[in-house]
Structures are given as structure tokens and as C-alpha cells.
Amino acid sequence: MVIGVLALQGAFARHIEACTQLGAKAREVRVPSDLADVDALILPGGESTTMSKLLESQGLFAPITERLAGGMAAFGTCAGMILLAGSVLDGRPDQRSFDAIDLTVRRNGYGRQVDSFETDLVVTDIAGGSFHAVFIRAPRVEAVGAGVDVLARVGDDPVVCRSGRVLVAAFHPELTDDLRLHEHFLSLTGV
């Protein structure tokens, strides 16, 4: 069992550390050949426009789409959630996403960096009390499709969602020491 972490740009190293701490094998995914021996994929925080460009130029967009269609488990945080969403508002017109979870998300939906915040929230299905969540220029979920479970909210906004083996968070569990969301993702990978 190997967890791939999309390592084009952003906080990918933090996700690799989190997986390693949980005893999982994790490796960087930068080119298509890196995908071959990967069983699941984490899409990290970073700039979604930058990652979207690099997914094309690295030749990764099509093979990842194919793997997701084949049922590969995926976990997207912040920019990674934007990349997995079905529909992206306030993105660039050429920005592409994998449409792996039926969500409509608005980029920078909580405002600019001065509005970035931390807060505590409760995640359904995760024991052990509230989760400290760090939102940085975070995307805001504006619509949730059928078959998507909302596992956590801030106010009325869904911030953790799950559909089949795809898990997304609008915040950055990779920036704190709380590994429960990563652990939950590992349980979804079916190993």
C-alpha cells in the first residue's frame, strides 16, 4: 500500500510526514510514471491555478482522471479540494478539475489572507473531540450534490465532505499535529 502525494507545488511534504507518522508508505507524484505504484492519492494545499497548469504540462491530468474513474481513493485539502470538485467558481476560465466529488466550490470564498482563520470544529465519524482547523485563503463549498456526505461545517458551510472513497477538507489538517483526518482517509483506501 503506497500513498501518492501530488508534489507539483504546495505543502506536499507535510502530507508525506503525516502519512509516514501513521506508518503508511508515501511518495511524491510529479510525473506520470510516479503514479504506477501508487494506490491512493493526496492532493495538497497550495495554489490550485499553479497546480492545474502543472497537471497539464507534466502530463498528469489524463492519467489521474483515469485512476479516479477506476476508483482510486483520494484526499484533497484546500487547493486539493478545488482540484477534486465538480465545479469551481471564481477560478480562471482555463482552470480544470477532476470532478471526483459533486461539489461546487468558490475559490478564496472566505476572503483574502487577512481573513484567513483558525477555529475548532466537530467532524462526524471521527472520535476524540473537536478538530482544530486552519483555513488559509480557503475555498467555500456553495453546493453539495446527492451522494456526498457532509462531515463537518463552519457555520452553515460544509468544510469536510466525503463521497465514496474521495475525502475533501477546505482547511489544512497537514499543518497541525492532529492526524485523525489522515487516519480516516487511510481507512477509506480499503487496506
Binding site: 508534489a7 507539483l8 507545488q9 504546495g10 505543502a11 506536499f12 511534504a13 507535510r14 510529479r30 510525473v31 494545499g45 497550495g46 495554489e47 491555478t49 499553479t50 497548469k53 502543472l54 504540462s57 507534466q58 484546500c78 487547493a79 471564481d90 477560478g91 480562471r92 475559490r107 478564496n108 483574502r112 489572507q113 487577512v114 481573513d115 484567513s116 482563520f117 483558525e118 477555529t119 475548532d120 470544529l121 466537530v122 476524540g128 473531540g129 473537536s130 478538530f131 482544530h132 486552519v134 483555513f135 488559509i136 485563503r137 463552519v154 489544512h172 499543518l175 497541525t176 499535529d177 492532529d178
Partner: protein, 305 residues
């Protein structure tokens, strides 16, 4: 970064803005990327199209500041707003060293990061801005580890090695990176008694020196700036340990800015793969004309205390 403990009794806790975790967190999100200097909305679009992870809005790129001389200040708010309006990626802007009112104005404008920069003419000959007083995060330059730790003690959430801006010459960036990283390596080998001596020698707070000794790295991310002109330059500084790059004059003073910008973005992602670097380095036209460090009238990196 200091992980925050969670409070199980507060399922819907209050929102805190401007915390260290939030400020340093944005720097974490910029890792592996390229931050490009732009002077107008048109350049900002080119930068975003090329895959920049952020833009730095400024009135003149460093090579023009160097050529024109005079006092270089914060940019016109109208120009910064014009750039904010056309891109979706983070927008940074520069304030003069010690000019906390320029920083207040930039925060009011809603820029995402303030660069307290030696590229502008310093406003204070002995004090840097008290960066703890702001909600907006700050990036500061450093030529050595002591300077980096002093900036962090003042509240900087991101350090960039200074290099020599506006020269298209990578030699100073390499010197600064090697100095900072080399000293961090030595500190991890030092015993407790030696850490006091290191703090004294670096003129840096002991607590931060002890933190470097434990982790082997700065408590905030470290990027590289000053002199990057080619994809190979970007890959060089990243192999040396820089976690992302700032490119100033190197893009818009070259023959083909759009192609060069895209190539540098791809080089930052593939910095360890010489075959991909060879591919992206092809046919970019002339890089910006470079300057020899020994012939410079002003060394911008000397500004900052």
C-alpha cells in the same frame, strides 16, 4: 511551526485571524512555487498564466531601480489594486525597511503578504518593522542566519535569502543560501554551551538558536531571491535547499517573458530532474543582461540590520 492544541469543549470555537499558524501557513502553501515581480496588471496576467503561485506588485523591477537611482518607495495603491483585480493568486507588495506606515497601508489594501524589502530605500537606519503588530504576514530578506533569526524574532513568517536583486547574477544568492544553511547544519552539531556562543555570534535570540539546533531548519519557510534569471538558476537554489523562488527582473527583462516564466515554474517543480530541466531551458531567447557584483555601485543586500 507550532501545532495548536485543540479544545474539545469548544465544538464551534471562535475564529482567530492573524495567528502565527495562519501567517506561516500561507508561506507553506507557496512552497515549490515561483513568486514573480510585476509592475502592471498585464504582467500580472502573464505571470498567472505561466503558473506563478503569487505575484509581487512593485513600481519598478530591481534592475530599473538600480539604473534609475533615487528613492524607491511603496507602490501606488491604485496600481496594487489594479493588479489585485486581475489575478486570483496571492498578491504581495513591498514596504521600505522600517516604514511601518507603508505596511499599514498595504494591510489596509488587503495584500496577502508584505515584503519588508531592501530593494526599496530604507526608511529607518536601525529598526525594522514590528511585524507582530500586523494581521498581514511579512517576508523579509537575510544574508546570513543571524539576520534571518532577527527578522523572525520581529515577527517575519517567511525568510528569503537576499541575493543581489536586479543583477541577473546568481552568485550572491548562492553565497547567502550556503551561509544560512551551512550554519544551521553546524548548529545541529553544537552542544548546549556552544549554543550560547552561537547566539552571541549571530546576534540572535537564544531561543530561536535552540529551535534551529533541534529541528535543523528555521521555524518558518525559507525561499530564495535576488539574481535568478534562468530555469537552471531556480533549480540550483532549490537543490541547495531553498523551498521556493522569487524572480524579479529575470522574467520581464528577458526576451520572451511568457515562455521564460513558464519554464521557471516547470523548473521549480522538476528541480531534481536534469532531463526535464534541459527540455524546459530550450529556446527561451536571451536572458536578462547580467551585472558583475564587483562593479556595482550599490549593494542592496547590505541594507537591513
Amino acid at each position: 511551526m507550532t501545532p495548536m492544541s485543540s479544545d474539545a469543549a469548544a465544538p464551534k470555537g471562535p475564529r482567530s485571524t492573524g495567528t502565527q499558524l495562519v501567517k506561516r501557513g500561507l508561506a507553506e502553501m507557496l512552497k515549490g512555487g515561483v513568486i514573480m515581480d510585476v509592475v502592471d496588471p498585464e504582467q500580472a496576467k502573464i505571470a498567472e498564466d505561466a503558473g506563478a503561485c503569487a505575484v509581487m506588485a512593485l513600481e519598478r523591477v530591481p534592475s530599473d531601480i538600480r539604473r534609475d537611482g533615487g528613492v524607491a518607495r511603496m507602490s501606488d495603491p491604485e496600481m496594487i489594486e489594479g493588479i489585485k483585480a486581475v489575478v486570483t493568486i496571492p498578491v504581495m507588495a513591498k514596504a521600505r525597511i522600517g516604514h511601518f506606515v507603508e505596511a499599514q497601508i498595504l494591510e489596509a489594501l488587503g495584500v496577502d503578504y508584505v515584503d519588508e524589502s531592501e530593494v526599496l530605500t530604507p526608511a529607518d537606519e536601525s529598526h525594522h518593522i514590528d511585524k507582530w503588530a500586523f494581521t498581514v504576514p511579512f517576508v523579509c530578506g537575510a544574508t546570513n542566519l543571524g539576520e534571518a533569526l532577527r527578522r523572525i524574532s520581529e515577527g517575519a513568517c517567511l525568510i528569503r535569502s537576499k541575493g543581489e536583486a536586479g543583477t541577473g547574477n546568481i552568485v550572491e544568492a548562492v553565497r547567502h543560501l550556503r551561509t544560512i544553511i551551512g550554519d544551521m547544519r553546524k548548529i545541529t552539531q553544537a552542544d548546549n554551551a556552544e549554543l550560547f556562543e552561537w547566539a552571541k555570534r549571530l546576534q540572535a535570540p537564544l531561543g530561536l538558536v535552540q529551535e534551529v539546533a533541534e529541528t535543523g531548519w528555521l521555524p518558518v519557510p525559507m525561499f530564495c531571491a535576488g539574481g535568478i534569471a534562468t530555469p537552471a538558476d531556480a533549480a540550483l537554489v532549490m537543490q541547495l535547499g531553498a523551498e521556493a523562488v522569487f524572480v524579479g527582473s529575470g522574467i520581464f527583462k528577458s526576451d520572451n517573458p511568457a515562455a521564460r516564466a513558464k519554464a521557471i515554474v516547470e523548473a521549480a517543480t522538476n528541480f531534481r530532474d536534469p532531463h526535464i530541466l534541459a527540455k524546459v531551458s530550450r529556446g527561451l531567447g536571451d536572458a536578462m543582461p547580467g551585472l558583475e557584483i564587483g562593479k556595482l555601485e550599490t549593494k542592496l543586500a547590505d541594507r537591513g540590520w
